[in-house]
């Protein structure tokens, strides 16, 4: 049996998630290439493939011309996997969606605002069907390997549907709310081992919302702990712009 053909593609992103995907111990790399055949990976090799079993796509869609390229990847691949927050939920690229195009192009390129093609930042799932996702900004290397392995075995990737609170409690962290810091952990997908709250920070929401978040209760809690409605929305802005329940439909 030939090994599944795997490729990596990127759109608007820092390419950090692809870097995480190959940030492997030598033994892990050998194990990975023993189960998949990497045929296209701009960050790591120059060859290109044709038909693909798995396409990992990093980055948000921020130009109309991206759409065609993304659709062609979809046509070539049996499975498309959104790699990281930019691809899965549009990530921090979507911060510009809070401004008008005139505002952000003027701010970034004051000399020549129309020099580059740009439009509303979107997650790839808003354009094409996505079969699996690996959340996070950046992704977790271990999770990337687990998802890849599951896809190779024909299994549904086992990504947590529970929130970050579970991991904070398992790590016996003092809740950051008790330190007077508002955190998005109660509605954000776990799987990062509560990395930020466990290391002096709080959850920014990079892994996206859990499947059934109680947004009303989360908002009540943040306001109970001292945030005004506007300040609370600021916290949601960084990673959750594409969520219509919080920010409405911007189309």
């Amino acid at each position: 049996m030939s090994k599944p053909k795997v490729a990596f593609f990127d759109f608007a992103c820092c390419e950090g998630c692809q870097l995480c995907a190959i940030d492997l111990e030598p033994e892990q790399l050998l194990d990975l290439v023993s189960v998949v055949d990497i045929v296209e990976f701009r960050e790591a090799m120059s060859e290109t493939g044709d038909q693909l079993d798995i396409a990992f796509v990093e980055g948000s869609i921020t130009r109309d011309s991206d759409i065609d390229r993304l659709k062609k990847i979809r046509e070539r691949a049996k499975l498309v996997v959104a790699l990281g927050a930019c691809s899965m939920i549009a990530g921090i690229n979507a911060l510009k969606n809070f401004q008008t195009k005139a505002e952000y192009t003027q701010a970034v390129y004051p000399e020549d605002p129309n020099k580059y093609e740009t439009t509303t930042a979107k997650a790839i799932g808003e354009i094409i069907q996505v079969d699996a996702f690996i959340p996070g900004c950046p992704i977790d290397t271990g999770e990337f390997l687990r998802v890849t392995k599951n896809l190779v075995l024909g299994k549904t990737p086992d990504i947590p549907t529970y929130p970050v609170c579970v991991e904070c409690k398992r790590n016996e962290n003092v809740c950051v709310y008790e330190k007077g810091i508002q955190c998005l952990g109660p509605v954000i997908r776990a799987g990062c081992n509560a990395r930020c709250p466990s290391n002096g920070g709080y959850c920014f929401g990079c892994r996206g919302l859990i499947p059934e978040p109680n947004i009303n209760s989360q908002q009540d809690i943040m306001q109970k702990y001292g945030l005004t409605y506007e300040k609370m929305l600021e916290k949601f802005k960084l990673f959750l712009q594409r969520n219509q329940e919080i920010f409405g439909d911007d189309q």
């Binding site: 892990q28 990975l32 075995l153 409690k169 398992r170 709310y177 109660p186 209760s217």
Partner: protein, 340 residues
């Protein structure tokens, strides 16, 4: 439990004994760890916090850890069970957690028994310290008749200023005591003195009036408005379960190595408050709403498991109350359903 003999020891002797036991046992006690006070492994009795402060997790984690590998396997079919138990002394466990251990002991001994849990319990010495007052505003041990330990300990210490009154509850406790603690015979009046202080500390703090009838009452209140009132705020974050000393549900998953040649079977804490807990193949979910999940969880504490264990399966430690950002409390739910 045999008729307890009353012994006295100094606090100093206890701490010295623990230091001596350190060569044979790993010692666990309440200790400061960065900004937190938690139950953790210590190297010296100097690290022990004798004054109780509520911890995020109970001592359950030492017998039933958050994650554990229960077997290793190869794809050729070689299966090797893993039971990792070591000699442990848990020092300074309070009545709420001792009652929690008692309930877990009963649960994990059922049917064929859980070898991983039971072998860890077998190799452990649990030394309790009785509470003489309620530890904070969220604890409600006294409401559920859990401010006294009904079991779960090998040795129990009752505070008498610079001394402890000792009660021994097991043969392994007796052996440990003889080996490591210097004691002198005590009088029933010593114990009475310690208990009088406790009585004073818990003055006016009474159990729920109809506690024994809780299973019956909760059974009749399946449609009580409290389930919707409290459940609508629930985030389904699972925090209440993670911190609970009597929750024992777990998930088991096989983790095949990336080379697809060998793997490990893991078990990790699961939680009936999480939306995926009652989801089965095909996507059907038997408890799809937070309201149903909350009802189920509280019923386990005060209804069907309470009937099974003969005591409230909520021990009133208050951990879930402290952990719940939405301010959902078993005490408040019980009050709304059964009266104060």
């Amino acid at each position: 439990m045999t008729k307890p003999e009353i012994l006295i020891t100094t606090k100093k002797s206890i701490l010295k004994g623990l230091d001596q036991a350190h060569s044979t046992y790993r010692i666990i006690a309440l200790t400061r760890n960065q900004e937190r006070v938690i139950y953790d492994y210590i190297n010296s009795s100097d690290e022990i916090e004798l004054e109780y402060q509520p911890t995020v997790l109970s001592v359950k984690k030492f017998f039933f850890p958050q994650d554990e590998i229960i077997l290793d396997y190869t794809v050729e079919g070689k299966v090797t069970p893993r039971i990792e138990a070591e000699n442990l002394v848990l020092f300074g466990v309070r009545p709420c957690d001792l009652n929690g251990i008692k309930i877990l002991d009963e649960a994990f001994a059922e049917s064929h028994g859980d070898p991983n849990y039971l072998s860890r319990r077998e190799k452990s010495i649990v030394i309790g310290i009785d509470c003489q007052k309620v530890c904070d505003k969220d604890a409600f041990c006294y409401k559920v008749d859990s401010n006294e330990a009904k079991g779960g300990f090998d040795i129990m210490l009752y505070d008498l200023e610079d001394r402890y009154v000792i009660q021994v509850a097991s043969a392994k406790g007796q052996k440990f005591l003889e080996r490591y603690f210097e004691t002198t015979p005590g009088l029933p009046s010593d114990l009475e003195k310690a208990l009088a202080k406790k009585k004073e500390g818990f003055k006016g703090l009474e159990p729920f009036k109809n506690l024994e009838k809780f299973p019956e009452i909760f059974e009749k209140n399946k449609d009580h408005p409290v389930w919707e009132e409290e459940g609508s705020r629930c985030l389904s974050c699972g925090s209440c379960i993670m911190v609970c000393p009597t929750c024992y549900c777990f998930d088991v998953a096989d983790e095949l190595a990336l080379n697809l040649k060998k793997g490990q079977r893991m078990r990790r804490w699961d939680a009936c408050m999480l939306s995926a807990f009652a989801e089965v193949a095909g996507g059907e979910n038997f408890r799809p709403t937070a309201k149903e999940r909350l009802h189920h969880r509280i019923d386990r504490k005060f209804n069907f498991l309470m009937a099974k264990h003969g005591q409230a399966v909520c021990v009133g430690c208050g951990r879930c109350v402290r952990a719940c950002l939405a301010d959902i409390s078993p005490k408040v739910i019980a009050e709304k359903i059964t009266g104060k």
